[in-house]
């Protein structure tokens, strides 16, 4: 083993040359000298975005003013964006709408599931899941008189069996935000259904990076966010999916005027819209919604299988280089080595993970840290190259070997880690 990365760069060059998605990288603004491995936290800026936002601000808002609700199509934006996302996550055209945040959308579908099966008292939430999922679950459980059973990716099958006929719904994230480990959506959904329960999937780390098949897996409800692999910008609107046949009976307590059957008749009493519109609440953040819509154009005509293949190859190369150059430096790896079991990220452990992440960022490789000891690297297949993978490992090795991370400036915690 040498310190030389020559062979690795040669391999990466060959892989980049064959990459059918290579040209997509040119659609993004990637700052000079930066390797961005955090597209699973905030997607990169599409080149077309500044002009689109200027149009939205100057022309649609500035000139069109209130008329733009009709003339610029603001009113239908939630549905249009929902349709764009439906294609990316294997849902039908009428099964997805974009609105609010992932947390709020989770509340809606958890409430819907809880109310649909009132006699069933157990809901399964995921131990160690991204926290908002559990927090919203606690809130919904308290409201609807349910008891939370915690399960994790290892014991989920057993827990579903244990809950049995008392099981109301199961709420899981398909790809774990820390480990990157991916659950089998078809199998877990089927197990929940076998108990007569509903299945909720959080696609935060799936949408735009995996081949997701909501319809084929007969998933009941799903939510996900627009600012990670979908590149919709900071705090982009989220989305929510409800299987077609569950929509007509769906009840959710956030009954706002945009979810009314006829919002502009200003009726005294709530009468829900048919279809996904009943998941809407208040006025959508139009500027943020327009940004998401613009970003999603990049997915038009792109094969999700091609994205997934590249994702697997990027993470595979990263793991190979980890074994050769990083493992000997005191790191562990928590992401499955079997590509079929992981999402589009690779996570290491290190007791000094926070400081190492900060030092790495200072050297131009952006990943992120997740308490207590996870260094997380996301590989957005639309704009990360194989050469990026090699260079990031080379820099990580330099940072660790040089002890650069020991500087006090890298130890101090920031507000957002």
């Amino acid at each position: 083993m040498t310190n030389s990365f020559e062979a690795a760069f040669a391999k990466a060059k060959a892989l980049d040359a064959q990459d059918p998605l290579a040209s997509k990288r040119d659609l993004f603004h990637l700052p000079d000298g930066l390797i961005y491995l955090d597209g699973n936290s905030l997607g990169a800026l599409p080149h077309s975005m500044p002009a689109r936002m200027q149009k939205a601000v100057q022309q649609e808002w500035g000139e069109g003013l209130i008329r733009s609700w009709n003339d610029a199509g603001w009113y239908e934006a939630t549905g249009r964006v929902g349709l764009q996302i439906a294609k990316i996550i294997g849902a039908k055209a009428n099964e997805v709408i974009a609105c609010d945040s992932t947390s709020i959308n989770l509340f809606k579908v958890m409430s819907a599931a809880a109310q649909a099966l009132p006699e069933r008292k157990i809901i399964i939430c995921e131990e160690g899941n991204f926290p908002t999922d559990g927090y919203i679950g606690e809130g919904a459980a308290a409201l609807f008189g349910k008891e939370i059973m915690l399960a994790n990716q290892d014991n989920i099958e057993e827990k579903i069996a244990q809950a049995g006929a008392q099981l109301c719904f199961v709420s899981l994230t398909q790809v774990h935000y820390k480990t990157g480990r991916m659950l089998d959506m078809a199998r877990v959904t089927q197990l929940a259904h076998a108990q007569g329960a509903r299945m909720i999937w959080d696609l935060a780390h799936s949408a735009g990076a995996l081949v997701v098949k909501l319809s084929e897996c007969k998933v009941d409800y799903a939510v996900g966010c627009g600012y990670k692999y979908l590149n919709g910008g900071p705090g982009a609107p989220a989305f929510v999916y409800v299987r077609e046949d569950l929509q007509s009976d769906l009840q959710q307590p956030l009954q706002g005027w945009f979810g009314h059957a006829t919002p502009f008749t200003f009726d005294q009493s709530y009468a829900p819209a048919t279809g996904m519109a009943k998941l809407l609440v208040g006025t959508t953040s139009v500027l943020s919604m327009i940004a998401l819509e613009e970003a999603l154009k990049i997915y038009e005509g792109v094969s999700m299988r091609a994205i997934r293949s590249k994702s697997e190859a990027l993470t595979q190369l990263f793991i190979e280089l980890y074994d050769a150059y990083i493992a000997p430096l005191g790191f562990g790896i928590v992401t499955p080595r079997d590509a079929a079991l992981r999402g589009s990220q690779v996570s290491f452990t290190h007791s000094e993970g926070y400081a190492i992440t900060q030092a790495l960022i200072a050297k131009g490789v952006i990943g992120d840290f997740r308490a207590p000891n996870i260094l997380r690297f996301g590989f957005a297949p639309l704009y990360v190259s194989f050469a990026d993978v090699v260079r990031s490992v080379e820099i990580l090795r330099e940072v660790v070997e040089s002890g650069a991370w020991q500087k006090p400036e890298f130890q101090q915690r920031k507000a957002v880690t």
Copy 2:
């Protein structure tokens, strides 16, 4: 009475010359040839906005990427904007936060009030209020086992007395969205408190146009929107106020990770933040929040009394001209003639209100229509001039006298009316 508006224009010219807020108009983009009387539905574009949004998109998102949560202050934006709004609505610095939509914020405070007084079974919602308030009230009532008593602006005092010790909370909008009639915040709040109940005010048509005194009136909870008089852009984030002493015990079921005491320790169980942060749920729409923050700079150093005085004068002139030129044409007026009883809008009735509004828009005067028969004109004191008032009445008269509104194109209803 003649058709000539010469005297009125002379009066308007004098009023504009004396207007201490006249220079604020220059801070907005107002399209050529347009008179914009719909700032109570969507505020006009501040001139500084395009550059601010370009910076947010290109520099903060494009270059800063995930680092901007710390480096560009995205993380604290909800609190910073809350502070800006607190100054405008007479609240303390730690009593307001910006987030989500008005509807969702109403759900939070209705839930908080319902849970704070579980034994009290009646909630008062407003008959004929903007519909989302009532719809959210229905949802909250069903969740928390409350009964809705409808009251209106005429019988509210009597209804509060009738509900008595069973009264949990009263939810009212200070300025009625159709009529523009304003309630006495101090008096109604006191009446609710006298029954031991909580008071919720919707400030949708108040914030930025009136002297609102939440602290002085000891209001319990308030919500409002950022896209009307506050000029935050289409679907701008909303805000929520909770009186300081009610914050520590506050419980609301939308328990998202941004409302956690320590979001970045990724704890398994929810532990609410202290203060207003516990009203946060998911990740905020950063681009929309930045737009609102930029727009609110215009209010810095502006006296809300000066804004209110101009608002009263603008609406007074509009009503005088209505009496002279519009009333004879078959219109009615539903806005109080006493300036102390109205907000910053004037509403007429006419059986052909929809078509007349459309014809008026085609002639460059933008107001809006509210079913079934209301023509609504809002006067944003920061950018509407007295000359605008006269010219709008002149054009309205022309539209009606010429019969221009009878064209079929003006009869056809649009998606958003």
